[in-house]
Amino acid sequence: MYDMFQALLQAPSYHLFFEALLIIWIFKLLFFSKAYAPESVLTEKEKEELIAEWQPEPLAPEIPDDHPVLMAMENNIITGKPGKYVTINGKSCVNMATLNFLGMAGNPSVEAEAIKTLKKYGVGSCGPRGFYGTMDVHLELEDKIAKFMNCEEAILYAFGFATIASAIPAYSKRGDVIFADEGVCFAIQKGLVASRSKIKWFKHNDMEDLERLLIEQAKEDKKNPKKAKVTRRFLVVEGLYINYGDLCPLPKLVELKWKYKVRLFLEESLSFGILGSNGKGVTEHYNISPDDIDLIAASLENAIGSTGGFCCGKKYIVDHQRLSGLGYCFSASLPPMLATAAIESLRLIDEKPGMLVELRENCEKIHSKLSDINGTVIVGEPISPVKHIRLAEPSTDRDFDVQTLQKIADLSRDNKVAVTLARYLEEEEHKLPLPSIRISVNNQLSDEEIDTVFTTLSEAFQKIITH
């Protein structure tokens, strides 16, 4: 200590002076550095100017009142029951537009059940499932669906779109990986976005492409096993694709699922109640046990003729949604009268599987007939109740094709066959399908009606395309 003091005394004064300067400089840097920061703060006046200058874009773009889609909605006033026939502007047309495949919307016994429930429960349930919105009919419907699908448990949603869109983000979180078919419907796409997971798209129904992606993922996992241990992997497909009318190759998908250890989610909105000998969907069609699928989701708004949707599967999987499914927890439950309508529809399908056979026959008949229309392509499986009629030689201008098809639809509607274009949010779809007229088949069509549909449509096509 003494030595140090001596050394200090002996040091030259310029040295001491220099060290003192250094110390002061360090202090300044430490405590007063802000004072030296360049002034970038705006004055109040400048701020106000900036605020005054800012002009937002309009909330919604100007849309002409005579936009074709708006006109189509405004001018085609539908009255009465949309069953096998639908009344448009007072004209009764054969209904080839609504997805009422089994005629459940408009079925007298289903309606009677709904009214019976109305007289007991009123209309709304006035609350989410957690807060006294659960009614015995909801529990019954969940039970019936689970039994129908041979699953452990089912969970009921109040809205078809929200079902799969809520189910996917309940399991798949940020950091997880989802393999999805490019052709999946919009509800699934929104579910994928909401999950914030990494999405890997494979070509529509292309199993080789899927396997390529899976191998890629497996390689990546090998490189980083720590990360792979917490990265959940999902595979999301549709049973019967609404945008294409074709089936997913389920046996191959299940094989890949076990091979590459991914969880398989199957969306059956279109196939539930339609495919398989008892209407249990693609699993029954391919004779695959539902246990091989991790989660099956479907809407009750098509074949069942009600509102809402459900997910079913193993109890430990489905139960998770009761606390994590956003559309389940935070939404009012399904009105009881619609729940009993669904119960009755299910009972009818269970009791009379004959109607499924009728439907399939009609689908095949219409498929073979429509294939004869010149200048068109029919997309989809013969057994699919949804068929897309596309132009065989589409032009490069999508809008022009849409207009052409709209003219055809209008003309055939004037000739008493109601059809609709498949509508899409063109900017938002992941992969936009080509424009098409979407035909939906129902089991009640007679052969004569099928003939009328065919002649009307082919005439309309000939007339518009040749012009």
Binding site: I63, L99, Y121, K261, Y316, A332
Partner: protein, 610 residues
């Protein structure tokens, strides 16, 4: 914004609640008496002072107030600035600021009758609550440990270990479910088998394994319904609505099976769209079959990347999801705090977009009318003032407020006497007040035309079932008085009376009641999770059905009982519940309020009328 973030902001900002702030509130509410005397809709001052109910703990504070009064009124603004409570608790404090004459007059109109309260518990209550959660967590960990040793097991469905597969759930989620939520599981998901009207039949269920699973016994218990959102009492199985619905099922069937743009748009839907527009006083409206989806499917059509959403931190999950799906940048502001909102608006416009520094395309303020968990009402006049000043757009979700408040039952817009055209997007649901299901969006014709083309719901989901449409049309016509009866206005007035009576009595008893004095959702804070569960069970056993909200729906230390009032409740029903609550409040020592109850100016007048 995740629940955890909400929780963090709450815990961080609510905890250092000082008594001075409460003193301030008393001062401001005292000043209120003066303002009220000028307000056209309140009773005379003398009447009010006699009506000021007995204070439980407030006397000491009162004297202190007088002393502080002069000093505080000057520094009030500075002191409470930046504190969350300042935003939610002292709306009248603003009138002390220097403002132009016009502003003061404008503010007075609504602020003078705007009463909201979010009282903090005494500090030891919070500490005890945290300790109780800590015990639950410790016990949980102990059981997990024992489970690993092979003693005891989770009886519920635990995830089977499939070799090679990554587990589906994270540990914390299951842990919370198994060891904390499970213990109070019986207070939620109660099934009923009757109309959810003023009374309902709750199906009895028992558990043989400590709430892991339940078994329905087949019997049911009749209880008074304080759990359903049946504000105007339209949940009925008889009467004009039910008759009209029956007719519509016979005429139009039970489902449509097609989307709006794909031949699923019936005459009756058009009729409903027009009626809703008429009801709201806007140019046009669009309806969606599910309330949740109205938000999540339409918000993405309104804003996109490059836009900014300013969202209230307590917004409903559907709004959060809709915002997230839209791809826009999301910022939250403190609950109902207009100062914070203004700050964020200013900041956003000046700082522009992060990274690219482009100007924002649009700024959308997303608020709710009544916040169902807090019972608070949005400060709409301020929101509109800010929106105009900063050229932002407003999205108002009236899920709980439409029908439930306002002299004509037309929601917050009606409540504050504002022009509906000032709000760009009016959203609401049919689930609550109209006894149906679904939602709507109202606004300018231009906006609605855009949504008819671009809304997800217009293309990818089937339209509302005719029966539901009819229920909305019928109930809406009744509220509008178009059925040539005074039934609608009677319901509206009854609900208002019920709300004020119920809230006032609870406050008089000394409970901490959250929210606005006119909100028909009445959250009563019990803090401890055990108390909330006990309260709910006891009520059910004694013929009352209430709902509970606990973490993660609300902040950890603020578990609450929610009473949802309805026009179909009679005074006897309210009294029965109040009596029981009073008794339970003593048993559980829930009467923790140290605050003067609110003024309920005109409720007494109606009382006499009745």
């Amino acid at each position: 914004m995740t629940i955890r973030e909400i929780y963090n902001t709450h815990v961080k900002e609510e905890f250092p609640a000082s008594q001075t702030v409460q003193a301030l509130e008393s001062v401001t509410s005292k000043r209120m008496t003066d303002i009220l005397s000028e307000a056209p809709f309140s009773g005379s001052v003398t009447e009010q002072t006699t009506r000021i109910p007995v204070l439980t703990h407030g006397n000491g504070l009162h004297q202190e107030n007088d002393r502080l009064k002069t000093k505080l009124s000057v520094t009030n603004k500075q002191r409470i600035n930046g504190h969350r409570r300042s935003c939610s608790e002292t709306p009248y404090g603003r009138s002390m600021q220097k403002k132009s004459e016009m502003d003061i007059q404008h503010d007075k109109k609504w602020e003078s009758r705007f009463y909201e309260s979010f009282e903090d518990p005494p500090i030891w209550t919070s500490i005890l609550t945290y300790i109780s959660f800590l015990i639950l967590i410790l016990v949980g960990h102990m059981r997990e440990f024992l489970k690993k040793l092979g003693i005891g097991r989770v009886k519920n469905i635990s995830e089977p270990n499939i070799p090679g597969f990554v587990t589906l759930y994270q540990t914390w989620e299951s842990f919370y479910h198994w060891y904390i939520f499970r213990r109070g599981k019986d207070t939620l998901y109660r099934a009923i088998n009757s109309v959810p009207g003023a009374e309902m039949d709750v199906m009895d269920r028992v558990t043989d394994d400590h709430y892991w699973t339940f078994r329905y016994t087949g019997t049911s218990t009749r209880v008074i319904n304080f759990g359903s959102y049946n504000y105007l009492g339209f949940s009925q199985n008889t009467g004009p609505c039910a008759e009209a619905v029956e007719k519509s099922v016979n005429e139009l069937g039970n489902a449509i099976c097609a989307s709006r743009q794909e031949l699923g748009y019936l005459q009756i839907h058009k009729e409903l769209d027009d009626l809703v527009a008429d009801y709201l006083g806007v140019e046009a409206a669009i309806t969606v079959p599910m309330g949740f989806a109205t938000n999540s499917m339409n918000l993405p059509a309104l804003v996109e990347k490059g836009c900014l959403i300013l969202s209230d931190e307590l917004n409903h999950a559907s709004l959060i999801l809709g915002c997230r799906l839209s791809g826009a940048q999301i910022k939250t502001f403190k609950h109902n705090c207009m100062e914070d909102l203004e700050e964020k608006l200013k900041e956003a416009i000046i700082d522009k977009q992060p990274r690219t520094h482009r100007k924002w395309k649009k700024i959308l303020i997303v608020v709710e009318g009544i916040y169902s968990m807090e019972g608070s009402i949005v400060k709409l006049p301020d929101v509109i003032r800010l929106k105009k000043k900063y050229k932002a757009y407003v999205y108002l979700d009236e899920a709980h407020s439409i029908g439930a408040i306002g002299p004509h039952g037309k929601g917050v817009v009606d409540y504050f006497g504002m022009d509906p055209k000032d709000i760009d997007i009016m959203m609401g649901t049919f689930t609550k007040s109209f006894g149906a299901v679904g939602g709507y969006i109202g606004g300018s014709k231009r906006l609605i035309n855009h949504l008819r083309l671009r809304s997800h719901s217009a293309i990818y989901s089937s339209t509302m079932a005719p029966s539901i449409v009819q229920q909305v049309i019928s109930s809406m016509n009744i509220i509008l008085g178009r059925d040539n009866s005074r039934d609608g206005i009677k319901r509206i007035n009854q609900l208002k009376w019920n709300t004020r009576y119920f809230r006032r009595r609870l406050q008089e008893m000394g409970f901490i009641v959250y929210g606005n004095k006119d909100s028909p959702v009445v959250p009563m804070v019990t803090f401890s999770p055990a108390k909330v569960v006990y309260f709910s069970r006891y009520c059910l056993e004694h013929g009352i059905g209430v709902t509970v909200a606990a973490f993660p729906a609300v902040p950890l230390e603020k578990s609450r009982i929610r009473f949802c009032l309805s026009a179909s409740h009679t005074k006897e029903m309210l009294d029965k519940v109040l009596e029981m609550t009073d008794k339970l409040g003593d048993t559980l020592s829930l009467k923790l309020s140290r605050k003067e109850p609110a003024e309920y100016g005109d409720s007494e007048d109606q009382d006499e009328e009745k």
